[in-house]
């Protein structure tokens, strides 16, 4: 298989999608009974055990709760990478990589937005990708 044909493995599966304009969006779950939202999506509510759950498209921007530049991780991950927790407005905290950012420019609680990014590769060398976040450019773009 040539490199061009080798499709990246998407770690997040159906839990990430793209809007019509290409914006990367996380898909969580919302409980139809108690309203609890969760990411990654679940088929049972961790609050009330209801199975009446629906997919919910989450906000594409959130606040950077904390981060770390990771230099040691199992094989496959492209090192170093920036690991982070991002708080989305729906009271959902997401673990993700921060990409396209100088670590020195990061600040606690800064606004970040979704991206897709290649994060590493499996044993056969096939790349895997998933959602990630990047700092929102100040002043818009």
């Amino acid at each position: 298989m040539s490199e061009e044909l080798q499709e990246a493995l998407n770690l997040a599966g159906d839990a990430v999608t793209r809007d019509a304009d290409g914006t990367v969006r996380l898909v969580g779950s919302e409980c139809g009974d108690c309203g609890k939202k969760a990411y990654p999506p679940s088929d049972v509510c961790p609050e009330c055990m209801s199975e009446n759950l629906s997919p919910i498209k989450l906000s594409t921007q959130g606040k950077l709760y904390s981060w770390s530049v990771v230099h040691a991780a199992p094989k496959g991950w492209t090192l170093p990478f920036i690991a982070a927790y991002v708080d989305l407005p729906e009271d959902v905290r997401v673990f993700a990589h921060i990409v396209d950012a100088d670590p020195d420019s990061l600040e606690i609680d800064m606004e970040v937005e979704t991206r897709m990014a290649t994060l590493g590769s499996d044993e056969s060398g096939a790349p895997f990708e998933s959602f990630a976040f990047t700092p929102v450019q100040k002043g818009g773009s």
Binding site: L11, K36, S68, V70, P74, P80, A83, Y85, R93, I108
Partner: protein, 379 residues
């Protein structure tokens, strides 16, 4: 429930024993504990063996070496709290009157994984997206630095203290002092944490013999009483949570102090789960040794060093003694037993009457920690 006491304690020096089997690493610790108790092996009625990654039937593999067989052997996995959980199960069995005397073992051989970060469960969402334990603690550290003005020097000083205590402990994996500058110059693992902010990977085993307080006197002139035993799982949270405040430890400590009828001011020394240097600072606060935000000052004032008001990790802690994960809970208890008996030489906490052990276990997303077990002991 009956009163319970520890009558025997043993451990092997933590280190790298790649050539040895798990059973060969562990049996000398068990033999030491049994001989320390002076108990006949036929009087041991059950064994609780904690290991996280030691594979099936670790207890049987160890005990057949010593011929302690034909009794109930219960193997327990609870990540880094595997053997603190095993201890609690053993305590329950004796306190409830099911058995009069039981053996508790903690064992792990991490060298079989060839080093690196601890292998976590890949079915977990965050693990499958690259979370490793140092990164989790590093993110706690960064948030705490932001909210409370903690500096990299403060975090480094935890490692400096741990290594200083480790010099005095012949069972410690690291027995050489380090300076703040050496800690900060060690290679980055998960910024702001450097290599010397992280516990080493290694192998080891520890064991204790516990029995009813009533029977304890026949084995030991100085039995160590178990005056409180607590275990909890973390609360699963999908939303925002304060990572500067370890909720499971706070909750557990409160419950334990109430149960034991004492407060943090009554504790003379503690062995806490300093898998990464930042953790020890968070636990000073969660265990009530100082107010929120004051951990760095408590350390800088020397209060948590041997000779201070509340020495923490006189053994060297996980940072210096080592952290073969399933062994840690019982190894912490072995240190407290030896301290309360006055057997610790240069690292002895003078006049210690009450000791605390605190052991957590993590690696599952959505929890502060998956498990935390805290115990109180008195002479």
């Amino acid at each position: 429930m009956r009163d319970v006491a520890i009558v025997g304690a043993g451990m092997v020096p933590f280190g790298k024993y790649q050539e040895k089997t798990l059973a060969d690493i562990a049996w000398p610790a068990v033999k030491q504990a049994v001989e320390d108790a002076g108990i006949k092996k036929t009087d041991i009625e059950a064994t609780y063996c904690g290991t996280a990654l030691g594979g099936m039937m670790a207890g049987q593999r160890i005990l057949k070496k010593l011929g302690i067989t034909g009794l109930p052997i219960i193997n327990i996995e609870n990540a880094c709290s595997s053997s603190s959980t095993a201890f609690r199960e053993g305590w329950i069995s004796v306190a409830a009157g099911v058995y009069d005397a039981v053996l508790v073992i903690g064992v792990e051989k991490l060298t079989k994984f060839g080093g690196g970060t601890l292998p976590l469960e890949k079915e977990d969402w965050e693990v499958s997206h690259g979370l490793v334990m140092p990164a989790l603690y590093a993110m706690r550290a960064r948030r705490y630095m932001h909210e409370y003005g903690l500096t990299e020097n403060d975090i480094a000083d935890v490692s400096v203290k741990a290594r200083k205590h480790g010099v005095w402990n012949e069972d410690a994996q690291f027995r050489k002092e380090v300076t703040r500058e050496e800690v900060l110059a060690s290679r980055p693992v998960a910024d702001p944490l450097k290599l010397f902010h992280c516990c080493p990977s290694g192998d080891g085993a520890a064991a204790v013999v516990i029995c009813s307080a009533e029977k304890a006197k026949q084995y030991s002139a100085s039995p160590i009483k178990v005056i409180g035993s607590e275990i909890n799982s973390g609360k699963y949270m999908t939303g925002y949570r304060d990572m500067t405040s370890p909720e499971i430890t706070l909750r557990g400590a409160k419950q334990l102090y109430e149960e034991a009828g004492i407060g943090p001011e009554d504790v003379d020394l503690a062995e806490v789960h300093d898998a990464f240097a930042i953790a020890e600072l968070l636990y000073y606060e969660a265990l009530g040794f100082c107010a929120k935000g004051d951990a760095a000052k408590l350390l800088a004032d020397g209060e948590t060093s041997v000779g201070g008001k509340i020495p923490v990790n006189p053994s060297g802690g996980l940072l210096s003694k080592g952290h073969p994960i399933g062994s840690t809970g019982v190894a912490q208890i072995v240190e407290i037993v030896r301290q309360l008996r006055g057997q610790c030489g240069q690292r002895q906490v003078e006049g210690a009457k009450v000791g605390l052990t605190h052991c957590t276990g993590g690696g599952v997303s959505g929890f502060d920690h998956g498990v935390c077990s805290i115990h109180l002991f008195a002479r």
